[in-house]
């Protein structure tokens, strides 16, 4: 059997295989290291980080929904200094590129986070999260209108020469419009989808299940929406795509690549199966072997319509 080339290049970021983790589902890799040594991943994507840290939302923060879940963590994080001191130190010397997911309540805060990380060699790339539905200012509010997308992506672009991935929200009328704005403003790659805004209600108590009432929907339930958006964006822009939304196994990942994703993120699946990332990597490889595909890049956008 011929060896399959699994390496991909995501907007300047070299990955040994196309699989990273969805920000916020994997911390910085340490908690899952007993199950999947972080070096096995194509890249590790860290939990969203802001300048000085945020408390996040009240509990309960999650709800189970049909084939999915809602979360309203609210970007709880200890701030960029702690990220450097703890997470990046732990990652140092481990043979895996690090994508830092960047958040802020203001345009300036995004830039400040990048500036405080940019001369740190342990950071390989950024994922600029303009799509979190769980914070009141920043997050999704920046990512759903073209002018603010242009502004924030442009400012972040000026702050770094590292590969910059911009993470898009599915809660928009036309994702291609946002995607084009991000590309035109300097994104090296686009990641999608972040979570769909949703809600769960406990009929018995007549209360929302989440303390914050609404939260972000993820998991298999959203896969059809995610695939559609990846395919639409692939047809609309020239930068590579990091696809995600409900990827549970290798077949799901292959579907995203066929729709146009160069790499994929595994999120909610980690909660179901802590070995999910590993199985996704092996599943993609097995698919390529079965189909006689010698280079995983051949799959990208290979959908036959």
């Amino acid at each position: 059997m011929t060896q399959v080339n699994m390496a991909v290049n995501l907007g300047g970021l070299e990955m040994k295989n196309p699989v990273t983790v969805a920000s916020g589902t994997y911390a910085a890799g340490r908690e899952y290291n007993d199950f999947v040594p972080v070096e096995m991943l194509g890249a590790v994507t860290t939990k969203g980080v802001s300048l000085n840290g945020w408390e996040g939302n009240a509990s309960p923060r999650i709800a189970e929904t049909p084939s999915g879940m809602l979360n309203s963590i609210g970007l709880q994080n200890p701030g960029v200094a702690v990220l450097k001191e703890k997470d990046l130190s732990w990652l140092e010397g481990r043979d895996v590129p690090v994508i830092v997911n960047v958040s802020g309540h203001s345009f300036e805060e995004y830039v400040q986070v990048i500036e405080s990380l940019d001369d740190d060699d342990r950071v390989s790339a950024y994922e600029v999260n303009i799509s979190c539905p769980n914070v009141d200012s920043g997050g999704m509010t920046f990512g759903t209108h073209v002018p603010s997308v242009e502004k924030i992506v442009g400012l972040c672009r000026e702050a770094t020469k590292k590969p910059m991935i911009v993470k898009l929200s599915p809660n928009v009328t036309d994702v291609t419009e946002i995607a084009r704005a991000a590309e035109a403003s300097g994104a090296d790659a686009l990641s999608l989808i972040n979570t769909l805004l949703g809600m769960a209600i406990d009929a018995r108590t007549r209360k929302p299940v989440l303390a914050r009432v609404v939260g972000g929907l993820s998991g298999p339930a959203v896969k059809p929406v995610a695939l559609r958006m990846v395919w639409q964006v692939h047809n609309a822009v020239n930068v590579p795509i990091l696809g995600m939304g409900g990827i549970m196994n290798g077949t799901d990942a292959v579907e995203f690549m066929l729709a146009g994703a160069t790499a994929v993120s595994v999120g909610t699946a980690n909660f179901v199966n802590p070995l999910a990332t590993r199985e996704v990597i092996e599943g993609i490889r097995a698919y390529c072997e079965e189909q006689g595909v010698t280079d995983v890049n051949e799959l990208v956008g290979g959908l036959q319509c």
Partner: protein
């Protein structure tokens, strides 16, 4: 309150050996899970994937009632409260599940304690059993107060009695066994009567809060076992946070055992 020194996490395919109804909506399942049964300390829990629940995707966290390291088995006592536990209660012996464990901060080791009081209510009763056993084995005097709705729901009483060599103090809401009223009342009385170096408690939050208050008034160190909805169960997702004096802490790995005086109820 830290997880840095936790031992390695194990992902283990487990087999259901038995799954018996023991009381109203209460079941004990025995599973074969040799590696986790070996490693688990009192107060730690496991995160169980119930099979065949296609659209209910999350794992369910359960305390471990008792481990039998030699046999490579463990017991989990659970209450049917929703879809997952209902489904679990119908699985026959022989079913394959999987679990992650042992997870979280255990109860502090009892060595050095002079006398311990354990107060457990409802489905919290299994969470203190192994710690009480450890006290007994370490020769630390230990008193136990169990609370339940009624006599038939007091399903852990016998196992505690066998361990202690005497009936634990019991309280039922309807007075059908032991004290009539909340377990917090005999617990507070015991704290007045005896000199405890430590109180441990698990159960509904109002119960734990009341016990923690009594302990604080009596000046006794108190640990509680906190429950939160959990996605990852390994400390990565921040879905399970508890408000503490040091800010938000993860119930799964910073807990489930917390110092009662650190919890912001």
């Amino acid at each position: 309150m830290c997880c840095e020194d936790r031992s390695g996490l194990i992902h283990e395919r487990i087999t259901l050996l038995s799954n018996e109804k023991v009381g109203p909506r209460l079941f004990v399942m025995r599973v074969e899970s040799p590696r986790i049964a070996q490693a688990l300390l009192p107060g730690q829990f496991t995160h169980v994937r119930i099979p065949q629940m296609e659209s209910h995707i999350l794992r369910r966290p359960f305390s471990v009632y008792e481990t039998f390291p030699e046999e490579g088995t463990m017991d989990i006592l659970y209450q049917v409260v929703g879809y997952g536990t209902e489904f679990l209660s119908q699985l026959p012996a022989g079913t394959q599940l999987d679990q992650i464990g042992p997870i979280g901060r255990p109860w502090d080791a009892p060595e050095g304690e002079t006398r311990v009081l354990a107060v457990a209510g409802g489905a919290g009763a299994p969470a203190t059993f192994m710690q009480v056993k450890r006290c007994v084995e370490a020769g630390v005097p230990v008193d136990v107060v169990l609370g339940a709705q009624n006599a038939s729901a007091l399903v852990t009483r016998e196992r505690y009695a066998a361990l202690l060599g005497a009936d634990p103090v019991c309280a039922t809401d309807d007075g059908s066994y032991g004290f009539k009223g909340f377990a917090t009342i005999p617990a507070a009385e015991l704290m007045q009567k005896n000199e405890y170096s430590r109180v441990i408690t698990c159960g509904p939050e109002p119960l734990m809060r009341a016990v923690a208050n009594s302990a604080a008034e009596a000046g006794i160190a108190c640990q509680v076992s906190m429950e939160r909805r959990m996605a990852c169960g390994v400390g990565a997702c921040l879905s399970c946070v508890v408000e503490t004096a040091q800010g938000k802490k993860r119930a799964c790995v910073d807990g489930p055992i917390f110092e009662a005086d650190q919890v912001v109820w």
